[in-house]
Subunit: 169 residues, 2 copies
DNA sequence: TCATATTTAGCAAGCCGATTGCAAAAAGGA
DNA sequence: TCCTTTTTGCAATCGGCTTGCTAAATATGA
């Protein structure tokens, strides 16, 4: 067993306890840097923790507006930065120029395989990757902090679609 | 030996022969898709092959202008896309929102470790990574095409700088 | 070599996600 | 409650990426 894959659309919802813990982390981060606790920030964090996928700021904003339509894009944008600061969110750059975020709380480092046809993705964890990070850091005297690993390819469904298209000729 | 690292600033210049081969690949690609051979495209390819690092379109444009100041940004931009199409260049997305390109001819797939303080980077190749790509693709029935792997951290020099700064307090 | 058809070059404009200035509103300590 | 500080969110801006357009360059065929 080399990997522990997990479909993105699995139910990865956090327990109430985890959510409270995450709120705690966020609140103390705010206090530490002298910022205020607001309704909007709370709502954004809660919505964010409910998600399972990697969301652009745009997409999170759309979700947040469901619980409060008056929350603006800028606030979501800035809150996401705060969440990244205290380790609750982390950004992933796929190859389409849009930064996506995923919640990091109670999840271990993992990687993505992305279909270049339809954009769907699979998450997986691989201890080998973490080992390579350690090894290569040691070799070049870097103190490593994180890594990103993405595999690109074509998913089963899109392969079949292509097959059908070819048969029509 | 798990990795075959190579410093980015090594002399990785291609032989004349390799350059001719690359030009050949480019020319037949142009012919295949019904495009024309031009001085500018030639100059851009040649400059590109001389580089050793990952360049943004902007940066390559600056270099190209040294050999011909009248070559515009758009042409470099579009030529880079052509080069990517025929496999001579490939784009890498670091985490600063800028797409960088590196020449791919006569080089095998490799990865990057980037210093988050000063931006310098180290290239390395790791067969383990390629194996993980194959495994995870197989497991989820993807036909994989490529992967990107980046390690982030702090290089030796920047660690020392931080150390000195701390001692001044 | 020259004429003709096709593509290119590069300016300028547009696009789009990321970022910021600002004034009214909200938070929270005294 | 009052007052200071921070936040919010609109609107404007920024910056990299992309494209429309026309004069110029290239390839093809006579």
């Amino acid at each position: 067993m080399t990997t522990l894959p997990k479909r993105v659309d699995d139910n990865t919802a956090l327990s109430n306890e985890s959510i409270r813990e995450a709120e705690e982390i966020f609140n103390s981060h705010l206090k530490r840097v002298g910022l205020k606790h607001t309704e909007q920030r709370d709502a954004i964090l809660r919505t964010f923790l409910e998600t399972h996928e990697h969301l652009s700021t745009e997409e999170l904003h759309r979700l947040v507006k469901r619980s409060d339509p008056r929350i603006g894009f800028t606030t979501v944008y800035r809150t996401l930065k705060l969440l990244a600061e205290c380790g609750l969110a982390s950004g992933v750059a796929f190859h389409d120029g849009v930064t996506r975020y995923e919640h990091q709380y109670n999840r271990r480092s993992h990687h993505h395989m992305v279909c270049t046809e339809c954009g769907s993705s699979v998450e997986f964890f691989s201890p080998e990757i973490e080992k390579v990070e350690r090894d290569i850091g040691q070799k070049h005297h870097y103190v490593t902090t994180r890594n990103t690993f993405q595999v690109y390819g074509i998913c089963e469904r899109c392969q079949k679609k292509k097959h059908i298209k070819r048969e029509l000729h």
